[in-house]
Structure formats: C-alpha cells, structure tokens
Symmetry: C2
Subunit: 349 residues, 2 copies
Amino acid sequence: MKYRIAMDAMGGDHAPQEIIKGVVTAMREDDELDIILIGDEEAIKKELQSLNCKKEPHIVHTDQWITMDASPKKALQGNPRASVILAAKLVHEGQADALVSAGNTGATVLAAAQNLQIIPGIERSGLAAIYPTAKFEHGGHGFALILDVGATLHCTPKQLVHFAYMGSYYVSHVLGIENPRVALLNIGEEETKGGEVLTKTHRYLQDAEGLNFVGNVEGKDIPKGAADVIVTEGFVGNVVLKMMEGVSDVLRQTGKYALKKKLQWKLGLALLSSGVKRLKKKTDYSEYGGAPILGFEKLVIKAHGRSNAKAIGNAIRVAKKAVAQNVSGHIADSIVKFNEKHSLDFIDI
Amino acid sequence: MKYRIAMDAMGGDHAPQEIIKGVVTAMREDDELDIILIGDEEAIKKELQSLNCKKEPHIVHTDQWITMDASPKKALQGNPRASVILAAKLVHEGQADALVSAGNTGATVLAAAQNLQIIPGIERSGLAAIYPTAKFEHGGHGFALILDVGATLHCTPKQLVHFAYMGSYYVSHVLGIENPRVALLNIGEEETKGGEVLTKTHRYLQDAEGLNFVGNVEGKDIPKGAADVIVTEGFVGNVVLKMMEGVSDVLRQTGKYALKKKLQWKLGLALLSSGVKRLKKKTDYSEYGGAPILGFEKLVIKAHGRSNAKAIGNAIRVAKKAVAQNVSGHIADSIVKFNEKHSLDFIDI
C-alpha cells in the first residue's frame, strides 16, 4: 500500500530547505510514503542533491507561491498556479491522498475550500488546532484539540455538531486518544447557558451517537485539559488560540527580563532549566504534526509556519495515519447518520 | 461633601467579616465616606463591636442574601429582600451614590439591571474586568480593562461603541490612565476582519469623538497590554477572562509540582521568590478595587469574590472616585452625542 502526500514545498518560514529535509527523512524511514513536492523545481532539486537522497520524490514545478503574510484571498486570485493551489488540485484529481502545507494558514484553508470536495452533508470545513494542556503532569497525553479556530467565524448548531464529529474522529484515530471527551465551550456548565445556538447545540450533542460528550466547559478549563476536543465557533477559537500564543510570549519575556535583572534570579532560572526543558519537550508543537483542516473528502494538514524538518516529518506521518485510518470516511458516515436523524429539525436553523 | 456607598455586607467568600473590616478601615481613613451596610444586623453589629469603631456605619437589616454559587435569576426571585437587591434599591432611591458588592457576579448584574436606571440611550449594561498585563515591566501601569465579560453575550455595533465609551471614561477618570488606548478584539488587524458587526463597529469607533481608538487587537495582544480598554461581546470576554484565571491556576499548579518533585527545582524557585512576590504585588487584584458594572446612572462596583478587607477598602475608594469624577455623567453625555450623530444609521441595526 502506498500513501501519496501532496506537499507544498514553498510554504513556511523555512521553506523550501526544511520542508525537503523533512520529506527526505520521512521517505527514508517509511517505504509506504510517496510524496509529491510542489514548488520551484530548481530550488527543490538543489536541496535534494545536497541531501544525497536515493529515492527521489516527484516534483511538480511552479513559479508561484503564497508568502506567509500575504492576504489569502487576493494572493490566491493573483497566483492561480500557486504551489498550495496545485497541491490541492492534485489531491482533488486523485493523484494524492492528502495535502500538507506549512504555509499561510488562510491561503491553505481557502485553497482547500476552492479545490477539494467537501464531505456530503457538511456545510463548512473546520480548522483545528492542537495545544498543550496541564494534563501531562498526571501522565496524560497533554494535548487537546480545539476547533474551529478561524475557518467559520459564526456557526449554526448543525455546524458545531459536525465539528464535534470531525474533532472526535481525528483525535481518536490519529492522536490515539480512546473515546475522547468532547466538550462545548460556553460561559457556564448549565446546559441553558450561552444563548440559543449553544443551547440547541448542547441538546444535539447530548443525543449524538458515537460521541463522548462531557458537557460545557468554560475558559478556565481550556488550559487545564478538561476535554480532549473543544468545540466552538471560529471567532472565539481564534481569539483563544492566539491568546495562548500571547501568554506564552509574555512568559518568555518575563523569563528574559528576570534573567537580565538580577544575579539571584538568573541562578534560580538556571536551576529550573531542566524542568523548563522537560516542559518544552512535552509541549513541543513539532511533535503532534500540525493542525488538521477537517470536513473535506481528503485530509489537509496545516503544519506550523515555523516548522523545521522534524515537524514536517511528523505532519507527513500524521497525514499518512489519517489516510490509513480513513478518518474522512468515518466522519462522512457519522454526518450522514446525524443529519438523517435530525433532518426535520434543521429546516429552520 | 459626603459620598454615600451602599455596601452589600453579605456578599463574598469572606462576608461579612472582611467586608466590615474593610468598611471600618475605609471610613477611618476618609471622613467624606458615608457607608450603609446591608445585611444581617446582628452579625454586622457583632463584627463592628469587635473592631471597636467610633463612627458606626448605617445598617439596613435583612435576613436574605444570595450565596456565591446560587443561580442568579432564581435566587433573586426567591429572595426579594436579598442584601444586594436592597442595596440596589437604596441607590435607585437616591439614598446612596454607588453600590459595592463582593457577592455573586450574576446576581449583582441582575439586581442592578432590575433596580437601577440605565443611562438614556444605552441599551445594555457592560460588566468590565480589570486584568494584569505584561506592561509593568516597562514601568507602565500594568493593567487593562476588558468589557463586556458576560452581561451582554452578543452585541450590536451600537452597543459595542457604547462599551468603548464606558470603558474609556472609567479607565481615564478612575484608574488615571490618560487618553487610554481603546481597541476592538478581532481575529486580525485589518478593519474588514471579523464579519459585519465588527466591521461596522470598527468604522464607528474610528469616527467616534473623544475616543483614542487604536484599531483591532488579536488574542495575543490581550496579555501583552496592547490596549488599555479592550471592547468585545460578552461571550468572548467571558471566555477570555476565565481563560486568564485558568492559565494562572495552571502556572501555580506547575510551580507546586516543581516544588515537590526535585530539590534542585525547589531551590530554583526559592531564588526566584522575590521576583514572584514582586510580580504578585504588581498583579494583585485587591489593588484596583474590583470590576465596574457600567451603563447605569449610578456606579456599581463588583469586588472580587475572594476580597479581603484591603480589597473591599479599595473597592470603596474606587466607587467614591467614580462618583466624585461623575463618570456616569460623562458617559451619558458622550452617548447622547454619539447616538444623535448616528441616529439614522441605527435604524437598521
């Protein structure tokens, strides 16, 4: 069995070097991988030569790609042969089973939406993010998934339930968390909290087959790891995700400040450094292989913009696993069942 | 000049002891304060005797109050003479200039909404929270205000602009931050981000007289202190605020874990303790006197549920300052002007 991954060679802060390093290493370690690199052929070949690799990945040449800070919509319109678009087209045409990109997030989501087939019955795709939680202390896995984080700003109850299924299947089949706890982000635990959309969503989730719905969680539960999958609309998920980044930046700055300010603090931090390292390793984004964009018939993995070769390798590994486990197929089956069961309810919402 | 504060003696984790201690100290230090304690007369008198105070506050007796974990709506309905309701009524009747409570937040907001007069032209009150930011490092004030954090889950552009005025006047007149930077919480800096409500709000804010609008901020900017007043709808603000609590809990737990786990880490933390103490002092909730509930003709201050005597004293001091500075009057004036200027726009929103 071969797993064919379309890899955007030009996306990411360290593209194409780290992308190609990651691809070559992944192919060396796994015979079942067949990778198509989409990007500047000359640059790719130069990199491949320097890595001295025997089995070469396929290359699809293009001289267009999307920069990290480009405005997604405009950039895609202006670059119809952008590497991420061609990669999505290859997947759509059946020449690849999954798409991986470390490039511009908005452009990746949009390229997928414009070129891939959405799962029948699903209205909107969901961008998921995997983030570290405090659970590692107790020997737990220490990660949770939150979706949507920006693909769909405001959602209907139906769309939120679909996100719950997407997240649950991904977490169980790809991250290996059995019977994952799915929760709805809200402003209180009571099921009547949060307004009409969330109250309805809560009711559907309670009743949803194949989901381990544990109820509402609040903002304070996000970093604590009270659930494995947290469902929310894209606006809120985006604010939450970026706030985690902001907190992490502030902590790093505070550490740097303390380091400079006083010898005693410098010494204290030095003594703690093994702990900080351990924490860093447990919360290393490169370990879990990037954020899935869910809801399409084929899987899309958005690796972190800062991805190094190791992170790219993990993203490819994760993409293969999702294909092997038929995550999209499982999601599609549940959605059909859920939609049929509630076909009358959804007329008005 | 006398400043008359209605104080809910029964609200808060340490009520009535710490409430009354805080009140007595505040009155000792400030002759202009006239405080009415609303609660169980016997318990209040017992506490006052033990404190040996000369000038006694007024007491309004009641045998009903709302517990911290009660469901606000039901609890208020079942306790029509609850201390927080009587306190709000005293303010409404003109027997007091401001209301302070450290009790159940939802019940305080609801008691205010049911008993106080909203400022003409304002549709919804806003619950604001003051939180520590990373700015203290640079000698800044180190606090910012975010609103709404739960009083109004979803907002119109008009309501969000009103929140901006409320927050801006409070921060400048009570916290003493000159020309405070007001920002709109969004998922990107561009003014077209975030959907119709936020795009419209952005346009109004750019054009709003007397506001120092600095544009959109994202989740990552919240802990960094990129703005002094952050405006958002209540659902998002609530999630953000509780997430900050959650992160702070997780950091404390991680510290405790490190303390127990390894002697080297224990030593490291000991060397850092003066820094942690300094950080704690700079981010001490008891310093800034609680969260204002804005939009009523009289000011309501919701002190933290865990308030000790010092926090209560600061809440009273802040309430007095808001009355002395006529914060509600300033807000009312701006709202009238803003609404008049946009009277035609608001027909459809």
